[in-house]
């Protein structure tokens, strides 16, 4: 079924079509939410919120990349949670920045090490790194999603890389 047809059914409240969208895009939404918030509980809540509100949000889809549009949608929800002071206080004790000996000249960077290092980045840097480098959004898309300039997106990506290098090579 073409995407536009599927989305039209979702907009009209068709349960099977919404389930199909969740099957096809649930992992994307959960992955973005989890990497941005660093919390499985928050990510699960965000996935629910995104899909519960999807039929009402679909008319706002501009017909470009649905994956990109959905990523922006979940990013905004996740970003709002990041700014919750209550959440920040709750996670403060949980986030322990990884520090392990490693020479990047001699070893290959492992996915596990990178996942751990990303989780320890400051919120503003982690969000940009996840969107740009993990999800493959452009700086234009990142800037739009976060309400920042393209230049600031580039600077934050650079600072994220700088911090990741420090964490992964010490």
């Amino acid at each position: 079924m073409p995407l536009q047809e599927l989305l039209a059914k979702v907009e009209n409240g068709d349960e099977r079509s919404l389930r199909r969208l969740m099957d096809e895009h649930g992992a994307l939404v959960y992955g973005v939410a989890l990497r941005i918030t660093g919390s499985e509980a928050d990510a699960a809540d965000i996935v629910q919120d995104v899909f519960i509100g999807l039929p009402e949000a679909v008319p706002l889809f501009d017909g470009g990349s649905f994956r990109g549009w959905l990523t922006v949608l979940v990013t905004r929800q996740a970003y709002m949670r990041l700014r919750s002071e209550e959440r920040r206080r709750r996670l403060e004790a949980e986030v322990a920045p990884p520090r392990r000996a490693r020479s990047h000249e001699a070893e290959v960077l492992s996915r596990h090490d990178l996942e751990t290092a990303i989780a320890g980045l400051p919120d503003d840097l982690r969000v940009v790194f996840v969107l740009k480098e993990v999800e493959g959004l452009s700086h234009d898309e990142v800037a739009t999603a976060l309400g920042i300039s393209v230049g600031l997106s580039r600077v934050r990506l650079f600072r994220a890389r700088r911090e990741l290098m420090d964490r992964l090579t010490q």
Partner: protein, 74 residues
């Protein structure tokens, strides 16, 4: 040329430098081990980031449908 800044190398990795500046950096990487090493780290970081797996999402479909029905909008 003198060493590029780390920010310039970051822009280079993303192809965000003007072409003339990019060529200048390429020439520098050919002769400077430390800058080339930094470049290679950033490239590796970029490649591994794209390989990260999407985590398995929780099964929330039934809950989403239930909440939509409860809200009277499904």
């Amino acid at each position: 040329m003198k060493h590029p800044t780390e920010f310039q190398v970051s822009l280079f990795v993303d192809g965000d430098l003007p072409s003339a500046k990019g060529r200048e950096l390429e020439e520098h990487f050919d002769v400077c081990d430390s800058c080339r090493e930094y470049l290679e780290f950033l490239r590796e970081l970029k490649a591994v980031a794209r390989e990260l797996d999407a985590p398995e999402p929780p099964d929330i479909a039934d809950e989403v449908i239930r909440r939509r029905i409860a809200a009277g909008s499904a």
